[in-house]
Amino acid sequence: MTARIGVVVFPGSNRDADAMNAVRVAGGEPVVLWHESADLAGVDAIILPGGFAYGDYIRAGVIARFSPVMRAVAGFAGEGGLVLGICNGFQVLAEAGLVPGALLRNRGLRFVCRQVSIAPERLDSPFTAGVGERRPLRMPVAHGEGCYFADEQTLDALEADGQVLFRYVHADGTLAADADDPANPNGSRRGIAGVTNAAGNVAGLMPHPETAVEAILGSDDGLLLIRSLVDSAAARATSGRSLVAAGR
């Protein structure tokens, strides 16, 4: 079956078309979810795309958090639905408390827009199951507030619980854990580029896999992530439907 992947559009989203394209390239069917509607149209998974939702006023992501669609997304996530937040989408998830931590102003103060290298910490998540052996994964970042922050105790707990999904690495794959490491584009604590919630069904990352899905774009490494999401969503939808059928 073809997984239907909802892409939420907030006023100020600007990577929504890229996310929809990536879903198509990965073999899924993108479905637009407008921020003012709490109707998720029965989608199998949801992407919160990059951009500047509600102008990033107050703090990036916080106003989006209170939109009708986000109340529905929180319910969807609470029931185990797959949600991926990319860049501004990660900021929205963090503000909503759906993933741990916060995204601070970049350590260097500048908006950073360049290719980075990341590596997954685990391959048994629905967001990385299809990543395979390729390391590092090359894709762009484009953000002013991407410095991942959580207190030391929380960071220890995230590492112990396997909730760190991606870290920034050098081209040779060595970790960029230090905040001042040039391969760490924003000063993120412990080089963290992406995290999941405790249940593992909600993930956020600052880099943009959705704009690295075809070789002509400079990298197709991001496709591995988007395809993981699409395939995981399809597998879950199929098993969910067969459970319903078996129950009849």
Binding site: I58, F66, G101, L104, N106, R107, F149, A150
Partner: protein, 99 residues
């Protein structure tokens, strides 16, 4: 139409101690260009002013606390302080309160 009074507040949001504040650091770093020294500990925050219609100051403060903690600040990284700027009657003197 609201009965009761109008209370004008300011909410001052600042980065919590220990949270890196690159804006504050940049401001501090620029002071040398102004020929100013002896200034340290610069922290850049945000000030939001608003008017709340409520029967009592206590109820108005409760509204401000709720929106300050939910929306105006992120308790993981920021602290806030509420300051009462003035009070007037809700229906007629909002302009006066605002002044």
């Amino acid at each position: 139409m609201t009965s009761g009074r109008a209370f004008r507040f300011a909410v001052n949001v600042t980065p919590k101690p220990g949270i890196l504040d690159p804006q504050g650091r940049a401001v501090e770093g620029s002071l040398g260009h102004l020929g100013i020294d002896g200034v340290s500990g610069v922290r850049v925050g945000r000030r939001v002013e608003l008017t709340v219609d409520a029967p009592t100051e206590g109820e108005a403060r409760a509204v401000v606390d709720s929106l300050a903690s939910e929306l105006l600040s992120n308790p993981l990284i920021e602290a806030y302080a509420v300051e009462l700027l003035g009070a007037g009657s809700a229906t007629t003197s909002r302009a006066k309160v605002r002044a």
